[in-house]
């Protein structure tokens, strides 16, 4: 029984806005860990010398990007009314993390976050952006290409990267101000990042300084 998986979990849906956009993923995990402690939720803890609350996050949100459809799964030792979880947790959240829904459900062995494979972003461009027609054409050109190579610099890699396999959709959904909907794959090694997609689009349009970006929001995890 010692390592029996927890039987319930709370799916907590939240937005990450304003200055909280700049809280990094690991720091956000600590924010939630401390918040569930303060909220005194009956959370399930990991075994071992350094027990940690069992909280799993859906795909990490890149620092600086607003998230409207973020969620995490908090393992519980016993079920609680979702409204109670939401009220207790919401009171412990720092500015900019807004909870908008909690669901409590039985938990299987498989992590609830394991099934997420895609993310959708909305990029709102500034007034100086190229016209709607040019943007739509460039978007189509990227989707029609076999390879879209960008420069990727992370802790692990620094070099050319083909993001075409990770790019699932790119569409102009509004003309004024221009709004682009970007859909990417999240699987390891095959992902495309929204800023890389925008950089590739800017290159397609011949813009040396990139596209004027007003706001970038993750709108869905699928």
């Amino acid at each position: 029984m010692l390592n029996a998986p927890p039987r319930f979990c709370a799916i907590v849906r939240y937005a990450k806005r304003g200055p909280a956009r700049f809280v990094g993923h690991l720091d956000l995990a600590r924010v939630f860990d401390r918040a569930v402690r303060r909220a005194e939720l009956p959370v399930s803890y990991s075994e071992g010398f350094n027990p940690r609350a069992r909280i799993s996050f859906a795909a990490p949100l890149p620092v600086g990007i607003q998230g409207e459809a973020e969620w995490c799964a908090i393992d519980l030792e016993r079920p609680l009314p979702p409204a109670e979880v939401q009220a207790r947790l919401a009171a412990q959240m720092p500015e900019g993390i807004t909870l908008w829904g909690v669901e409590v459900r039985p938990r299987g062995r498989r992590s609830p976050t394991a099934d997420i494979t895609e993310a959708e972003y909305q990029a709102v461009l500034g007034a100086q952006a190229p016209g709607a027609e040019a943007l739509a054409q460039a978007a189509d050109a990227l989707l029609a290409a076999d390879r879209v190579v960008v420069h990727r610099q992370t802790k692990r890699t620094d070099g050319p990267q083909d993001i075409r396999p990770g790019l699932l959709g790119l569409e102009l959904t509004q003309a004024q101000p221009p709004v682009l909907l970007i859909r990417v794959r999240l699987s390891e090694g095959q992902t495309a990042k929204p800023d890389e997609v925008l950089a590739a689009l800017a290159r397609e349009l011949g813009l040396e300084d990139g596209l004027p970006l007003e706001r970038l929001v993750r709108t869905a995890l699928l």
């Binding site: 700049f22 720091d27 924010v31 860990d33 402690r37 303060r38 600086g64 412990q92 500015e95 900019g96």
Partner: protein, 590 residues
């Protein structure tokens, strides 16, 4: 709070958000005095400092006062701010530093001086006190280095010597009615407060500034809702100051003088605070803070009580400071049920003669018994702290350090038996820096080359793969010594070093010895001479207007006992040693 375009460009933007859980949010309409509390180092260091959180809390408790934080930013942000001509903003509301009425800075150690000056400069506050006008903030500073304030006398408007809790409230009360008054009037009001030194108005040759001492730690305000940082800070845990002061009387130790007498927070209060702070922060670790935790009367019961209160919440309790005795190992066993980290002991000197000279008062047998107890309780890693360059030290004393390390290693291998291969000793050797207000304040530092030679003596005498030897940078210690007993002329050298780019000097990667040598030379001083000079006992010292309450006679007598090797017992155990504080006469709990 920074503008988005800067947050998007900097490393670790989580440092600059100002919206951490429990950050103060005072209604600007309801406050008339705005204070910025600054720590002259990076956020991760400053946010680990308990004293700053206490003062932040004290200031924000006052009606009509709001207190916000500033730290020295990462070098990337400092560069962006300069490039944009933007003043360093406060974390909570993004207000430029220069717009505050009062700037409070902490003086924890000498190598932060250039950072302190750069912090003001980045905040667009004139660095020289004399160049500030009516609309600029009043700049105050406190902390252990206020015991030798002259190097910063041209920068700081008012120094506070001693405990800050009450003094800060008095300063705020004094300034609030004078916010529209000329600067000179505000400084005059501060100059009238006990424990406050105003270089523009006081003559260091005649004034005496008596250290502030709060009588009862249990009555002093403590934040029940400390800030919870987003980014991982150096001490990322709840911290409760359980006692202030230490009367063991090590003769090199400045804190041992500046925080006298010992005052304990009552154990019931510690337990209540611990429950509140854990509930209000969500931390899973609690550290009991004092100069000397095992000396807390009733420490064992306190730890048991805390375990009872917090164990179910999976909160671990830690003690940062241990004595060299088996009692300390028993305490460590209580708090560390998992031997995840090592135990640290500070014999300071290798030979019995020198340990007696500095009044450390432990024997080799004490240390060997202690480490034997630690090894047999399951620890494999022991950290040992030594200091070289102490007055009267000979090569024999220096070589006693590796000899003692070998004895500890031998005991470790014996006790660990089959597990001897897991033994690890981390030996850290620092350099003696003479500090103001101590019995060794008159002594010059041992010259740089000589310190290096003594380091080599130790290095050559330890040949053990299970001993990890590290030395404190001699060059940093030399600068520390030159600043620790400096004058106003030394202050000009600090300003020159700043002009040459000195900042964050406590971080090895930012420290440049040559820059310091050149800065001292620029103002006609020699850095090495400043560090090594002896001060004649007949003369008034450049910091002697700052009165710790411990008498010159006591310090001189202690200095004599360094030569004779005579021990001075702890006054809490064997009666008043006559240090001059007079707490026995006053009947204080000492």
């Amino acid at each position: 709070m920074l503008p988005d375009h800067l947050l998007a460009q900097v490393q670790k933007p989580g440092r600059y958000l100002g919206s951490e859980f429990n950050a103060a949010r005072k209604d600007p309409a309801a406050t008339d005095l705005r204070m910025a509390l600054g720590y002259p180092d990076l956020y991760e260091v400053g946010m680990s400092h308990v004293g700053s959180q206490v003062l932040y809390h004290v200031a924000n408790l006052q009606p009509g006062v709001s207190c916000e934080r500033v730290f020295y930013p990462g070098l990337d942000l400092a560069q962006f701010l300069r490039a944009e001509g933007r003043a360093l903003p406060s974390l909570e509301t993004g207000t430029p530093l220069g717009d505050f009425d009062l700037v409070g800075l902490t003086l924890q150690h000498e190598l932060t001086y250039p950072t302190l000056i750069s912090l003001l400069e980045l905040g667009q506050v004139p660095v020289r006190a004399a160049e500030r006008s009516d609309h600029h903030p009043v700049v105050i500073a406190g902390g252990p280095c206020a015991a030798s304030p002259e190097p910063l006398a041209g920068v700081i408007d008012a120094f506070v010597l001693g405990d800050g809790e009450e003094a800060l409230v008095e300063i705020l009360d004094a300034l609030r009615p004078l916010l529209k008054a000329p600067r000179a009037e505000r400084l005059a009001a501060l100059a009238g407060l006990p424990g406050v030194y105003v270089p523009a108005l006081h003559d260091p040759a005649t004034v005496t500034v008596r250290r502030r001492v709060i009588r009862d730690l249990g009555q002093a305000p403590v934040p029940q809702r400390p800030l919870v940082p987003y980014v991982e800070v150096v001490h990322d845990r709840a911290q409760i100051e359980v006692a202030r002061g230490c009367t063991r009387g090590c003769r090199f130790c400045q804190a041992g003088i500046l925080y006298r007498p010992v005052r304990q927070r009552p154990p019931e209060q510690v337990r209540t605070l611990a429950r509140e702070i854990i509930a209000n922060t969500g931390y899973d670790e609690l550290s009991l803070v004092s100069l000397n935790c095992p000396d807390y009367q009733g420490i064992g019961e306190l730890i048991d009580g805390l375990h009872g209160d917090l164990g179910a919440q999976r909160v671990s309790v830690g003690l940062p400071s241990l004595r060299i005795d088996t009692f300390s190992v028993d305490l460590a066993r209580k708090v560390q049920r998992v031997r995840k980290s090592g135990l640290t002991f500070a014999p300071e000197a290798g030979s019995q003669r020198l340990r007696d000279a500095i009044n450390k008062g432990v024997t080799e047998q004490d240390l060997l018994d202690t480490v034997a107890a630690a090894f047999s309780s399951g620890w494999h890693l022991i950290k040992l702290y030594f200091m070289i360059g102490l007055p009267t030290e000979t090569d024999e004393d220096v070589l006693a350090i590796p000899a003692l390390v070998r004895s500890v290693a031998r005991v470790g291998r014996e006790v660990l038996g089959r597990k001897a291969s897991r033994l690890k000793l981390n030996v850290s050797v620092s350099n003696f820096v003479p500090k103001a207000a101590t019995p060794l304040q008159w002594e010059g530092q041992v010259p740089r080359e000589e310190l290096l030679r003594r380091q080599d003596l130790i290095r050559d005498a330890i040949r053990d793969r299970q001993v990890n030897l590290s030395f404190h940078d001699v060059r940093q210690s030399v600068v520390e010594a030159a600043l620790a007993r400096g004058s106003r002329a030394t202050g000009e050298a600090v300003l020159a070093a700043c002009r040459a780019g000195a900042v964050l000097d406590a971080w090895n990667e930012h420290f440049s010895f040559r820059r310091w040598q050149e800065a001292f030379a620029e103002v006609g001083l020699d850095l090495d001479q400043e560090a090594t000079r002896d001060f004649p006992v007949e003369e008034r010292l450049p910091w002697e207007h700052m009165d710790s309450g411990v008498s010159r006679e006591f310090l001189l007598a202690e200095r004599q006992r360094v030569l004779s090797g005579e021990l001075t017992p702890d006054c809490r155990l064997e009666g008043c040693a006559g240090c001059g504080l007079g707490c026995a006469r006053e009947g204080a709990a000492c």
